[in-house]
């Protein structure tokens, strides 16, 4: 059967995946801490077909043969780690990282996951947890009845204990950094997991070693650019149509051959 059919099919499949990525980005345009995805395309391998009986004349070199590509594929989706817009909320437990870094949260099975979503709350035991109930690691416990929860830009947490008038330090929030954050695996729920491509997590205090500062009462919104997503969508639609047209042409040729001969 005609190879043009399969090549066009790869084009259609790749544009489908790209559209799914754009749709996911647009769906999460208001999600706190969401990082937009970008689909990366690559052309598939080329088969080098040598023409049998290729003749070389005395002057010109032997032609190297015909190279036919096999289509396109989506190599992967990259997360784009640019800063989202900062939204002040005034909630004392809303934290934003200004610069690089991730919060660490601990999963029930003991694994460490990483997130940029700084919406934290207190659970029934007074532990600082994220919206899904996963505790911040290393654990931070706020004593019962404390007030004035304050987080400094270097992560030092101070509260006013019941019965005291002066604030006292109860712990420090540390951030982690990665050599290649784009290599982290996205788990959903604004959580990421380390992989071989992302490198080891490097823990540090906010503001040092390239980590960003913490800001209390502010949330980092998503970094999705709506205009860019819309323009990409138009490009994807037209590319899809063009590939479908070639598929049609190849199919029409074979149909004509079958009917006529």
């Amino acid at each position: 059967m005609s190879s043009a059919l399969w090549v066009s099919k790869t084009g259609l499949a790749a544009q489908d995946t790209a559209l799914a990525t754009v749709a996911n980005n647009l769906a999460n345009v208001n999600t706190v801490g969401f990082k937009s995805d970008r689909a990366v395309f690559e052309d598939l391998f080329y088969s080098i077909e040598v023409q049998p009986g290729a003749q070389a004349d005395q002057v010109n070199t032997v032609p190297s043969g015909l190279q036919l590509g096999s289509g396109v594929r989506v190599v992967g989706t990259q997360k784009v780690f640019t800063e989202g817009s900062m939204q002040p909320t005034g909630q004392p437990m809303d934290l934003a990282i200004v610069g690089r870094g991730f919060f660490q949260v601990e999963a029930p099975n003991g694994d460490l996951y990483y997130t940029e979503n700084g919406q934290f709350q207190l659970n029934a035991e007074g532990m600082v947890v994220n919206a899904q109930g996963l505790p911040l690691a290393p654990g931070l416990e706020v004593p019962q009845g404390s007030s004035r929860f304050t987080v400094g830009s270097d992560g030092i947490v101070t509260v006013v204990l019941p019965g005291d008038t002066l604030p006292s330090e109860i712990g420090q929030i540390t951030l982690v950094n990665f050599v290649n954050p784009a290599g982290l695996e996205a788990l959903g729920g604004n959580l990421y997991k380390e992989t071989a491509a992302s490198g080891e997590p490097i823990e540090g205090t906010p503001g040092e070693d390239g980590l960003g500062n913490l800001k209390q009462g502010v949330l980092e919104g998503s970094n999705v650019q709506v205009v860019e997503a819309m323009v990409n969508m138009i490009g994807i639609q037209r590319a899809y149509e063009a590939n479908a047209k070639v598929l049609d042409a190849a199919s029409g040729m074979l149909q004509f051959l079958n009917q006529t001969v």
Partner: protein, 242 residues
């Protein structure tokens, strides 16, 4: 049975192969840095006495269209686009050099700059970065970083850029470009890079669609010729039957 059927067959099969090439170009119309393939056919005379009217069709080795595509602004520090002509050098297997215009770079776990898994070549081999806070790529390929914990920028290496004439470029089986003789090309100082941008593919969708339509019609004409050859031989058979 008239041999004109075979002449038409070579044309029809050339059309199918050309359509695969066009389909590949269109499938990669949104792949950044993709260079369109060009196809050309030539007439090949059949050698021998009495075959003077037989000229078959053969596809010649195709070239690569090195026209520059449109630049798209992405704002990512590690995205590079080549302004005008020129290519970025990557390390292939067995010391071979491969070239590309798709400048979407990643930093892998060993802190090497890579494009699609292949290390980007600097002045003395692959570029390895120190631990850094931020990175900037200059217009002449100079990679400078602000090392971790420092605030002054330090130059790390320079990306190897080459300028190969379009006639000398062919595609490697991975889809990257290489020189026709397989030898690494000389570094060129004239090639300018632009960071924060990616170059779109240089496929003209209109051109490819028109070409594929024209190939469809050509194919139909060839099939009609094959039918004509069949009719001729059928007429001959009828005459013999009496």
């Amino acid at each position: 049975m008239d041999r004109l059927g075979f002449t038409a067959m070579t044309a029809a099969s050339r059309t199918m192969t050309s359509l695969q090439l066009r389909a590949n170009n269109l499938a990669n119309a949104t792949t950044p840095g993709f260079r369109a393939d060009m196809e050309q056919a030539e007439a090949v005379a059949v050698e021998g006495f009495g075959y003077d009217s037989r000229h078959l069709v053969r596809l010649r080795d195709n070239g690569v269209n090195m026209q520059a595509g449109v630049l798209m602004a992405t704002g990512r520090d590690l995205d590079l686009a080549v302004q005008g002509q020129g290519l970025i050098a990557l390390e292939g297997e067995a010391g071979r050099e491969l070239y590309t215009r798709h400048g979407s770079m990643q930093v892998d776990a060993e802190l090497r700059l890579t494009i699609n898994g292949r290390p980007v070549l600097g002045e003395g081999g692959p570029i390895v970065l120190p631990e850094y806070d931020s990175l900037h790529i200059g217009n002449d390929g100079t990679v400078s970083v602000i090392p971790r914990g420092d605030y002054l920028s330090a130059e790390v290496d320079r990306i190897k850029r080459v300028d190969i004439p379009a006639a000398n470029v062919m595609k490697h089986s991975s889809g990257l470009l290489m020189t026709r003789d397989g030898q690494p090309a000389e570094a060129s100082e004239e090639v300018r890079l632009l960071s924060g941008h990616l170059e779109a593919s240089n496929v003209s969708a209109v051109g490819e669609l028109v070409a594929s339509m024209s190939l469809s019609r050509l194919f139909e004409a060839q099939v009609k010729m094959m039918k004509a050859a069949e009719d001729l031989s059928e007429a001959g058979n009828r005459m013999i039957r009496g």
